[in-house]
Amino acid sequence: MPLDTATADAQRLSFTGEGPEYFRIWIVNIALSILTLGVYSAWAKVRRLKYFYLNTTLADSSFDFHGNPMAILKGRIIAVVLLLAYQFSSAASPRLALLAMALLALVFPWLIVRSLRFKLHNSSHRGLRFSFRGSTGQGYINFLLFPLLALVTLYLMSPLAHQRIKRFQHGNSWYANTTFDFSAGSGRFFTLYLKLLGLAVLVIALVTGGAALLFPFELANPDELGDEARAHMATFILASLAGIYLMLFLLLGPWFSARVQNLVWNHTTLGPHRLVSDVQARALFWIYLTNFLGILATLGLFKPFADIRLARYRLEHIGLVPAGSLDDFMADQQQATSATGEEAADLFDFDISF
């Protein structure tokens, strides 16, 4: 639901991070991490998160991050060991890789639940902490059982798995003494995935059609073709694959990402208050494209600028429609948690947003 029309009274998140400023923090973080053989990276991560949290404001108050670098360091060591072991075993032999995969799948849900707990317990707004109260058992159902179901149904059930994960994440999150609720049913996810599939088919058809026009070739068994005709066919196949990959990654990636963010946040409530998101695929596409080119052209030095741009756009298109005063939240008892799961998940690049 667009912020501007339906909810003129929505309180938007605002983001005050700046590229050049964050670049200095980022590069000094990297240099110090190198000098300390990676140990500093845990402190670097806290600095980074503090930069993003404290520069994000809702209703005149900033968010804050309280993670303990030592806890992150511990998690980071576990994550590096897990990832290297997986990388190595997958390169070494398929059997070993399968075993490693199975083991990882078994600990993953536990790690993810820990990670969600760590992340939310260490986030605050107006001095009150967020928390995640989903159980580990539920974590196994949502992060293992449903993805397995998607797998055995040849991904037909992916939308359902996706919906369950989001419902688990958002429905078990709390701010102070108030719980978040998640109301998007699986039907909406199925519709979204169906559209994605349609667009993907369209993109593939357009790209292969375009490539066939640009690089005409003879359709026949390659063994029966001359060298030249075979080269034409190879050019066509390479051009199509590159085109499809780029198009899917650059066009459908941002489109899907925008739709998911909107779907998820527009169906999330915090007590009586409603959350809204109006991210546009077109704007996101432009940011992705320019970020990608920028990072490519600067051999990575543009990365901090890219991070800021993306964060600004995503954050500033989320808002909260208050149903009453935001001052009435009360503190709840707080729990300590370890960062172990959080870190492992960070490296494996799971989408644990906010």
Binding site: Y22, L35, R47, Y51, R126, G127, L128, I295
Partner: protein, 506 residues
């Protein structure tokens, strides 16, 4: 000092309370409608400056203040004698950011050049042997399914080669577990390779290519060298680390694109591995009184076969990325003679023209070389005088003491040195697509002229014409008249470095 406006949160409710804060001695006073606090500075936790973000002053009981008046608050901190931490000061200045960029880039390059191979070597040597069992099974299975056929060698011949090799003494105390298997290589042709678990695969074509069994033993020794140094394992570990770093770094950009640079970054290492395995094979051959040239001989024959199949040009991709690049260089190192490929050179590899026409550029270069540098001179002055008198050569407008002649659009130059005479040419002149002749070609021609390689060969980094680094191999010969000669051939960037042939005379 003026009181600074701030927002106070008590940590129990979400209620923001406007307050003012100010210093009173070494205490901070918070003053608002429903707030009155007087806290010792020492007990406060003050957040670092993060651009436009508010500074957070946290109290011991979980309450905090958000301060957005940055200038005034910094003034307050200075008054209180509270200084920014070291990291904050580093982050504040562009010059430190620049230093961090330099350090990061240097560390990345150093890590790639030294750290990565060293780490992989360290790990590879420490992995227990039983862990390696079965590694490579899938590779062999893949090749068996797609490329190889069962060997057509008689079982007795296979057994004889295996036993012969098993009888050799390895040059090191320990021998890695090994198992030799034979396959019909199909499209792969004459080749051999080692898998991490100790399997050495030899193709029938290689056995057929060998003129003596010593050559096969040489190749097996080379593969044993790979196993002994655990090269494939090191490659694997390096690949894992590179993949890990790249995907960590590029993770958000694209996970698929992340795999690509990893593969490219790997290829460079294989050259070093080939050299190590060659040295091992050489030691092994010597230790068993076998002719050291056996490996060089079969390599030369393998190279000739490949050249005719793919053309001889110095395709920059093949040279930089190929796992067995610069075969000529390896053969020379092993004390052998690179095979002269009889294929003509053309920009497009053409297998139909495998006949023997000469390379005009190379012939011209050797002609110019013969005019003076191959002649007897006893001192620099007489050589300089002869160059001046030579009507075929014109004095260079740009350089004193250099005389040149242009043929087929290429300039060949002769110059005097303190120690002798140098002939040089830019291998890839302006507007040309590639080097005019390869290292193998000139090496072969020099050997035909009666030059002998002394085995003193080095690869150096030299400064190219544009100031960038060029890899140059220096090969030392004794000429037919017994003079010392050095050929400096650029292994890369033939358009950026004058290839020289210097004869030491004085």
């Amino acid at each position: 000092m003026h009181p600074i406006p701030a927002t106070f949160y008590d940590g129990q409710t979400a209620q923001p309370q406007p307050v003012t804060i100010y210093l009173h001695g070494n205490r901070l006073i918070v003053d608002g409608e429903q707030v009155a606090r007087d806290e010792p500075l020492a007990g406060l936790e003050i957040s670092e400056p993060l651009g436009a973000a508010p500074r957070v002053v946290r109290f011991t009981d979980g309450a905090h203040c958000e301060v957005r008046e940055h200038a005034a608050f910094e003034q307050l901190l200075r008054t209180a004698g509270i200084e920014d931490g070291l990291v904050v000061r580093l982050q504040a200045r562009w010059r430190w950011a620049l230093a961090a960029v330099v350090l990061t880039v240097a560390a990345a390059l150093a890590g790639y050049h030294w750290g990565l191979p060293a780490t992989a070597g360290w790990v590879a040597e420490r992995l227990p042997e039983r862990l390696l069992a079965g590694m490579g099974e899938s590779t062999l299975a893949f090749f068996d399914e797609h490329l190889f056929e069962a060997s057509e060698l008689p079982a007795t011949r296979q057994a004889q080669l295996s036993t012969d090799f098993a009888r050799l003494t390895p040059p090191t105390d320990t021998t890695p577990a090994q198992r030799i298997v034979f396959r019909n290589g199909g499209a792969i042709g004459a080749n051999a390779f080692a898998l991490p678990d100790g399997t050495i695969v030899v193709t029938d074509q290689l056995v057929a290519l060998a003129e003596q069994d010593d050559e096969i033993l040489g190749v097996l020794a080379h593969e044993l060298g790979h196993l002994e140094r655990r090269h494939s394992l090191r490659m694997l570990i390096q690949g894992s680390i590179v993949g890990f770093m790249v995907s960590w770094y590029l993770g958000d950009v694209s996970s698929v694109a992340a795999g690509l640079p990893g593969a490219l970054l790997q290829a460079r290492y294989s050259r070093d591995f080939e050299r190590e395995a060659d040295d091992y094979a050489l030691d092994m051959l010597k230790a068993n009184d076998l002719p050291p040239a056996a490996l060089a001989d079969i390599l030369a024959r393998m190279q000739a076969e490949t050249d005719c199949a793919y053309g001889t040009g110095s395709d920059p991709f093949r040279d930089y990325l190929g796992s067995h690049p610069a075969t000529g260089e390896r053969i020379v190192r092993l004390g052998g003679v690179p095979q002269v490929s009889t294929c003509t050179r053309s920009s497009v590899p053409d297998t139909s023209q495998c006949s023997g026409t000469d390379n005009d550029y190379l012939s011209s270069f050797l002609d110019v070389h013969a005019w003076h540098c191959a002649q007897p001179y006893t001192d620099r002055a007489s050589l300089a005088e002869a160059l001046k008198q030579d009507a075929r050569l014109t004095a260079s407008m740009e350089y004193e003491g250099i005389f040149e002649i242009v043929a087929h659009g290429v300039s060949y130059a002769v110059s005097t040195e303190d120690y002798g005479c140098t002939t040089d040419v830019l291998l890839q002149a302006d507007g040309m697509a590639e080097a005019n002749f390869t290292l193998n070609e000139i090496n072969a021609r020099l050997l035909k002229l009666g030059y002998r390689s002394t085995g003193q060969d080095t690869v150096l980094s030299e400064e190219g014409l544009d100031g960038s680094t060029v890899q140059v191999t220096d090969i030392e010969y004794l000429t037919d008249t017994g003079e010392r000669a050095v050929l400096s051939y650029p292994l890369d960037k033939p358009d950026n470095f004058y290839m020289t042939l210097t004869v030491y005379k004085f």
